[in-house]
C-alpha cells in the first residue's frame, strides 16, 4: 500500500489526465448546449496542468507501481514532449479551422485526445512487458478510433480498416516475441530481463533471441512507421482527418521511439557497463543501420512523385523516422540525445506543415499540390510560414530542423570511419528530400494559378498559431544552450534497483 501511495505522487500528470478524461466524458454525456466548449476547456486545462506538474516533478529515478513503470529523467523528457504535442495539436487545430471535422462530435474527440496522451506516456514509461504491450495497444486502439472519426467518409473508413488490421497483425507478432522473451528469462520485468541476458546467451538460445528481436521489432516498427512496417502510413495519413494525421505523425511516433530506446537500452543492455553495450548476440548495429537506410530511402523516393499533400507529408514522415533511427544506430549517449533533439524539432516542423495544409483545405477545399499555385499572392503569411517549415524539414540552418540533423549526423560520425558510409547515405537522402520540399515551395511561390482566386483572410487564432509554430522553428536557436542542457540531463535511464 505505501508503495502505491508513493507511486501516485510521482504519477500526478497521468492522474490529472485521467481526471480530465473522465470529466470530459461526463460533460459530453450531459447533452447540454455548453458541452463542446466545456470539453475543450477541460482538455486544454487538463493538458496544461499535466504539463506544468510534469515539469515540476522531474528528476529522480525510481520504479513505480511495483515495477510496472519507471520515472526517470528520460521519462520526464518524453512526458513533457508528449503532453506538449497533444496540447499544441488541440490548440492549433480546432473544429472550426478543420473542415474535415465540421459537424462531428467534439466531446468524444477531446476524450480520445486525452486518452491517447495518457497512453503515450504509459508507453514511454513502461518497465514491464505486460505494461509495454498494454500501453502499446492503448495507443494503437485510441488511434484507430481517431482515424475512423469521419465515419461517413469512405477514405477515413478505409484508412482506419487498413490501420487496424495491419496494427493488429504487427502487435500480435510482437506479442508472440514477448512471450518467447518471458519464456527465455522467466520474468516480464525489463531490468530483470537485462540481468538475465547479460549473464550470457548460449548457442542454443541464439535463434530464440533472433526470433524475439525480429518479432518485437514488428511492433516497434509499426508504431514508428519504419520499413518494412510502414505500409499503413500513407493511406492512414491521407484518410484520417488532418488534425489526427498531424498528431499521429509526431506523438505516437515519439512514444514508439521512447519505448524502443528503453527496451533496447534497459532490457538488452549489459548492466554495470552502462546502457550502451547491448547483449552482444546480434550485430544490432548492422541491422538497425539497414532499417534506417531503407526507411529514409523508401520515404524520400516515394515522396518525389506525390501530389496529395497529406501523402507527401506521410512519406516525408517515414523518411524522418529513418533519420531518427540514425540516433538509435549510434548507440551512444550522443545518439540518444540526438534522437531526443530531433523529435523535439520534428514536432514543430511537422505540426507547422500540417497546419498550413489544413488551413489551405479550409479555404480552398483541396489537398492537392496542383491547386497550390499562386498561394503566395493570396496569403503571404501562410506561404512564408510554409517556406520556413519546409526549409526546416530539409534541414537548412539556422532552423530547428537543421539542429536535429546536425546532432544526428554528429553522433554517427563520431562513432568512427566504419559509420561514414552511413552518414553519407543520410546526406544523399537529405538532398533527395530537398527536391520535393523545394517543389512544394516553388509551386506556392512561383507558379501562377490558371484561375485567379480571392485572397485568404486567416482568422486571428489561426494566424496566431501559424506564427507560434513558425517561431518554434526559428527561435530555439537563441536558447540552444538551455535546450541542449535539458536534453543532456534527461539522458539518464533508470538502470535497475
Amino acid at each position: 500500500m505505501p508503495d502505491v501511495v508513493a507511486s501516485m505522487k510521482r504519477f500526478e500528470p497521468e492522474l490529472i489526465l485521467t481526471g480530465a478524461l473522465l470529466l470530459v466524458v461526463v460533460a459530453d454525456a450531459t447533452g447540454a448546449r455548453w458541452r463542446d466548449v466545456a470539453s475543450r476547456i477541460l482538455t486544454i486545462g487538463g493538458l496544461a496542468l499535466a504539463l506544468v506538474r510534469s515539469v515540476e516533478l522531474r528528476g529522480g529515478s525510481a520504479q513505480v507501481f511495483g515495477g510496472m513503470a519507471v520515472i526517470d529523467p528520460l521519462a520526464s523528457f518524453f512526458e513533457a514532449l508528449l503532453i506538449g504535442a497533444s496540447l499544441l495539436v488541440v490548440l492549433a487545430f480546432t473544429f472550426r479551422n478543420s473542415r474535415e471535422l465540421h459537424g462531428l462530435g467534439q466531446g468524444e474527440f477531446y476524450s480520445l485526445m486525452l486518452a491517447v496522451t495518457l497512453s503515450n506516456i504509459l508507453l514511454a514509461t513502461a518497465n514491464d512487458l505486460a505494461m509495454l504491450y498494454l500501453a502499446l495497444e492503448m495507443v494503437s486502439i485510441t488511434s484507430y478510433v481517431m482515424v475512423a472519426y469521419m465515419k461517413g467518409d469512405r477514405m477515413s473508413n478505409e484508412a482506419s480498416l487498413k490501420y487496424i488490421l495491419f496494427g493488429a497483425v504487427s502487435t500480435g507478432a510482437m506479442l508472440y516475441g514477448l512471450s518467447f522473451l518471458y519464456g527465455l528469462t522467466g520474468t516480464t520485468s525489463l531490468p530483470a530481463i537485462r540481468e538475465f541476458l547479460a549473464a550470457g546467451v548460449t548457442d542454443s538460445n541464439r535463434f530464440a533471441i533472433y526470433a524475439i528481436a525480429l518479432l518485437v521489432f514488428a511492433g516497434f516498427g509499426f508504431k514508428t512507421a519504419t520499413v518494412p512496417f510502414h505500409f499503413w502510413c500513407p493511406d492512414v495519413y491521407q484518410g484520417a482527418p488532418t488534425p489526427v494525421t498531424a498528431f499521429l505523425s509526431v506523438a505516437p511516433k515519439a512514444a514508439g521511439f521512447a519505448i524502443m530506446m528503453r527496451f533496447f537500452y534497459t532490457g538488452l543492455a549489459v548492466p554495470r557497463t552502462g546502457p550502451w553495450d547491448l547483449a552482444g548476440t546480434i550485430d544490432w548495429v548492422r541491422v538497425l543501420m539497414v532499417v534506417s537506410v531503407l526507411t529514409m530511402t523508401v520515404g524520400n523516393v516515394a515522396a518525389l512523385t506525390q501530389t496529395n499533400m497529406k501523402r507527401l507529408l506521410a512519406y516525408s514522415s517515414i523518411a524522418h523516422a529513418g533519420y531518427i533511427m540514425m540516433g538509435v544506430v549510434a548507440l551512444s549517449q550522443n545518439g540518444a540525445r540526438a534522437l531526443m533533439i530531433y523529435l523535439l524539432a520534428y514536432l514543430f516542423m511537422n505540426l507547422g506543415a500540417f497546419l498550413v495544409v489544413t488551413l489551405v483545405h479550409l479555404h480552398d477545399g483541396t489537398f492537392d499540390l496542383r491547386d497550390y499555385p499562386g498561394l503566395y499572392r493570396r496569403s503571404p503569411l501562410l506561404t512564408v510560414a510554409m517556406a520556413i517549415f519546409l526549409l526546416s524539414l530539409m534541414g537548412i540552418p539556422p532552423l530547428v530542423g537543421f539542429m536535429g540533423k546536425l546532432y544526428v549526423f554528429a553522433a554517427i560520425i563520431e562513432r568512427g570511419p566504419a559509420y561514414f558510409w552511413f552518414a553519407a547515405v543520410g546526406a544523399v537522402n537529405a538532398a533527395i528530400a530537398a527536391y520535393y520540399y523545394a517543389r512544394v515551395l516553388k509551386t506556392m511561390v512561383i507558379d501562377t494559378a490558371p484561375v485567379e482566386k480571392p485572397p485568404f483572410r486567416l482568422a486571428f487564432p489561426d494566424a496566431a498559431w501559424v506564427w507560434i509554430l513558425l517561431l518554434g522553428n526559428v527561435l530555439p536557436l537563441v536558447w540552444w544552450a538551455r535546450i541542449d542542457g535539458w536534453a543532456r540531463t534527461s539522458l539518464s535511464l533508470y538502470a535497475g534497483p
Binding site: 511495483g66 462530435g105 468524444e108 478510433v145 518467447f180 522467466g186 542454443s204 538460445n205
Partner: protein, 166 residues
C-alpha cells in the same frame, strides 16, 4: 499413455483442427463456429496447465464476448436472406508456404531453445493469487486497462452510431 497425455492430445487436436477450419473453410459461419471450438480447446489446455482462472476468463470473454461479437459482425455484413456467406481465399500458395515455414521455424526454436528453468508451477488454484496481484503489483495495468475499455467502447459506439445532428 497417461490420462493427462490423452487429454492433452485431445484438446490439442481440437484446437489445431478447428484452427485449420477457421482459416480454410469456405463459409464464414463454419469459420465462426470452428473458432468457437478453437477457443474451447485453448481453454482446455489452460486447465491442463493449471490456469483455472484464465480458462474461465477465456470462456467468458473470448467465447461469451468476442465470438458473439464476431458472429454479429458476420451476420450484419451479409444480407440475411442471401445465405451466401462465402468467403474467398486469395494467393493461397504463397500464404501456405509462409505459414509452413513459420511453423517449422517456430517449432524448431521451441524445441531447441533452453528455456528458463525454474521450479515450475504445479497446478493449483490461482484465482486468489491473481486477485491479490491485481491489487498490488499489477495495479497500474489493471487501472490502465479499465481506461482502455472505456475509451474503446466509447469509440466503437461513436463509429457505429448514425450521424447525429451537430
Amino acid at each position: 499413455m497417461s490420462a493427462e497425455a490423452a487429454v492433452f492430445y485431445l484438446f490439442a487436436a481440437i484446437t489445431v483442427f478447428s484452427g485449420g477450419v477457421v482459416v480454410l473453410a469456405r463459409s464464414l459461419i463454419y469459420s465462426a463456429f470452428a473458432l468457437l471450438f478453437t477457443f474451447f480447446g485453448v481453454a482446455g489446455l489452460y486447465v491442463l496447465l493449471g490456469a483455472d482462472f484464465l480458462a474461465a476468463t477465456q470462456l467468458l470473454i473470448y467465447v461469451g464476448g468476442i465470438l458473439v461479437l464476431l458472429l454479429f459482425g458476420v451476420m450484419l455484413t451479409h444480407k440475411l436472406y442471401d445465405l451466401d456467406l462465402r468467403s474467398e481465399v486469395t494467393q493461397f500458395l504463397p500464404g501456405i508456404i509462409v505459414a509452413a515455414g513459420l511453423f517449422a521455424i517456430l517449432s524448431a526454436i521451441g524445441l531447441r531453445t533452453r528455456w528458463a528453468v525454474g521450479p515450475g508451477r504445479p497446478p493449483s488454484v490461482t484465482t486468489a493469487e491473481i486477485g491479490r496481484l491485481f491489487m498490488s503489483q499489477y495495479l497500474l495495468p489493471f487501472e490502465a486497462a479499465s481506461i482502455l475499455l472505456l475509451v474503446a467502447l466509447m469509440g466503437a459506439a461513436m463509429i457505429v452510431r448514425r450521424r447525429r445532428d451537430a
